[in-house]
Symmetry: C2
Subunit: 395 residues, 2 copies
């Protein structure tokens, strides 16, 4: 029997892949500070659970393929508040941001086409692109240049006649950077000159710190028809397991074609949609409070991290990750060491090895730490464990 | 900007596509007997809602990519009861049967590969295959031969060196037929001779009537490694909107590769999984009762249908559909007529035009009626409306 090349070319998730080692550590009753995954430890708002309790139907029926009216309406209001201009007939509800990205790629690209991504990237971008038999074309961001978007001429070199889209996250996962006005205009110029779609994953847009500049690509002049927005309630509302996302565009052709994919998979979970609609409507202060908490966590963890010899990183301005280089030969084997062969006072930590955020996995010494899952004092301990772990590992 | 050929080649769902006409009819306050969609009107078991209420966590976290332990365990028990041999590490939980089929095709086929399907087929098979840039290769089942599987030599003619799998539903949607032992062995022989996977969609397996023979492909000798089972709680438990499905196989290579797709989309809705696990565990008599009710509905509707001049169909032995030919030129325009230009005492009906269950849409006079959404007396009325509608339409 045949197993496809497309799937053989895909990688296991560098984040999900450490689960066996993690379970191994937990089975040994170790207390693990889980910093490998963007799973917040902050309570999902009551409005979500209230929404579920308000469901009085006796049958769990299919919803509309495009999404329930209530959920679409709620997102529409949310975008209005965020000053992103989207009407109800421009929004599709998806099984998380993941399905939105998958649908965007399938709608735009045929096998052999190419999509530009910036390295390091959210690791599943590579998977989504490859499972569509499309080629990911990375443009590497340089740590020595604070991971800034390279000059226009450098970007141009990555374009071929097969290039159909640019896929990026802004605010950035794993970097915690935010595109400047200039960087956005450089990317916009590229998209316009080479007639490309921009698939803009903005699932961290609620978490921008220090009054930094952040603008949605949806609001950049000249891109109205060219943008596909990916969004999700997962991070905004600490509801990752709800799997409620958004694929939105003002491009009518894209919308009407992507609707075919929505119809094929019938609909998104009915109850989760109802709960999400309620969540979005009744939430005001939640994101503000959570933002403050994430900032405090960032400050604590980064302060401790900067005290460790040989650790280097760009201070994150958004999201809840720190992407750091560590003074070890290979972070993949280091994280396995931490989970399988190390402990300090019955504790250890996990992180996501950085190689999984690059196409060629040639960056061996990087690591993504998520600071959304632990309180400030825990992060302080985790950083200390990291320091001890590095020393032990190097022996 | 580019829109992919793969998506342009896809069709809108023939079932979901009539929604605008349907909403039009409802806006005119017509009472519509909805027979176009397999959305049961039978109450979802309380166990599902109890499962939701039992969720006491404060955070809606990501579940494991392969599925929650509880849900996998529950399905495993369900298969044990159904005498289908599957262990926990052979079961992946998916967003409905739809995602399971999509993942199966992507795991097996590269662009340009071919999948055998039997016409008429569940319309979304065509969509799932095309969105993977794979070619659907139909083998037509002949209405004059009661839609039986053709002889082995006929099947062989459809095979090329690009053929990688056979995708079928058993019990059959839209036909309501069940494969005989002989038919299954013919298909098995083909799969073995040409080294193909069998993707066997058995989401209607609880609804087999009149003590007919039904066997899972998972239990056919010599196919152990060659079968991929697609299942779902949607129809079994009247919980279509939960979007909880299964992709199961004893083929370890397939399982471990398909897991990459599960990891890429992170996880399936957490609460729906918990509710489903509870549902499966506590359900005993439910399926038996519902089976009896569907049989009664089938008998009533088919009796009325057989009284209409020029209507022809094979009496369904499973599932909850009747696939009939009607004495009209084009069932697509006929269903639009029923919803937009017809009413009788303020009532009308809907059905799914048959052309959407064929690749070339050349069968213009067929229709799929779903008898799961209405009680017996309603189905009697719906059949009468159909008779009057046919007469009006022909004028």
């Amino acid at each position: 029997m045949n197993i496809s090349t497309r799937i053989k070319n895909m990688n296991y998730s560098p984040i999900r892949n450490i689960v066996p080692s993690l379970e191994n550590a937990k089975n040994k009753n170790l207390n693990v500070y889980e910093m490998h995954i963007g799973q917040p430890n902050i309570k999902t708002p009551d409005a979500f659970f209230d929404g579920i309790n308000n469901y009085k139907e006796k049958i769990i029926k299919y919803e509309n393929s495009a999404g329930s009216h209530a959920t679409i309406k709620a997102f529409c209001q949310m975008y209005k508040n965020a000053k992103i201009d989207l009407t109800e007939d421009e929004i599709l509800i998806t099984h998380g941001g993941s399905e939105a990205i998958m649908f965007a790629i399938q709608t735009i690209c045929d096998p052999g086409d190419e999509v530009i991504i910036f390295e390091p990237f959210y690791s599943n971008y590579d998977s989504f692109i490859k499972c569509a038999s499309v080629k990911p074309c990375p443009i590497r961001l340089d740590a020595n240049n604070d991971y800034k978007i390279p000059p226009y001429k450098t970007l141009q070199k990555a374009i071929t006649n097969k290039t159909k889209a640019i896929l990026l996250s802004n605010p950035n996962n794993p970097l915690g950077t935010i595109l400047s006005k200039d960087e956005m205009h450089t990317i916009a110029q590229l998209a316009i000159e080479y007639d490309l779609f921009i698939i803009t994953d903005e699932v961290y847009r609620q978490f921008v710190y220090d009054n930094c500049y952040y603008e949605s690509f949806m609001n950049i002049d000249g891109l109205t028809d060219r943008c596909v927005l990916v969004d999700s309630i997962s991070k905004h509302y600490s509801a990752c397991g709800a799997r409620i996302g958004v694929l939105a565009t003002k491009n009518k052709e894209f919308y009407s074609q992507a609707l075919k994919l929505c119809q094929a998979r019938l609909s998104v979970s009915t109850i989760e949609q109802i709960a999400s609609a309620n969540l979005i409507y009744t939430m005001d202060s939640y994101a503000d409070n959570v933002r403050g908490e994430y900032m405090r966590r960032r400050d604590v963890f980064c302060t401790e991290l900067s005290k460790i010899d040989g650790v280097d990183f760009v201070f994150p301005k958004s999201a809840f990750y720190v992407f750091a280089t560590l003074p070890v030969d290979d972070t993949q084997s280091f994280v396995r060491f931490l989970l399988e062969d190390f402990e300090h006072n019955g504790e250890t930590l996990s992180f996501a090895p950085g190689a999984g955020f690059y196409i060629n996995a040639d960056i061996k010494n990087a690591a993504r730490f998520s600071f959304c899952a632990n309180a400030c004092d825990e992060l302080k301990t985790a950083a200390k464990l990291l320091k001890i772990g590095i020393n032990e590992y190097k022996k």
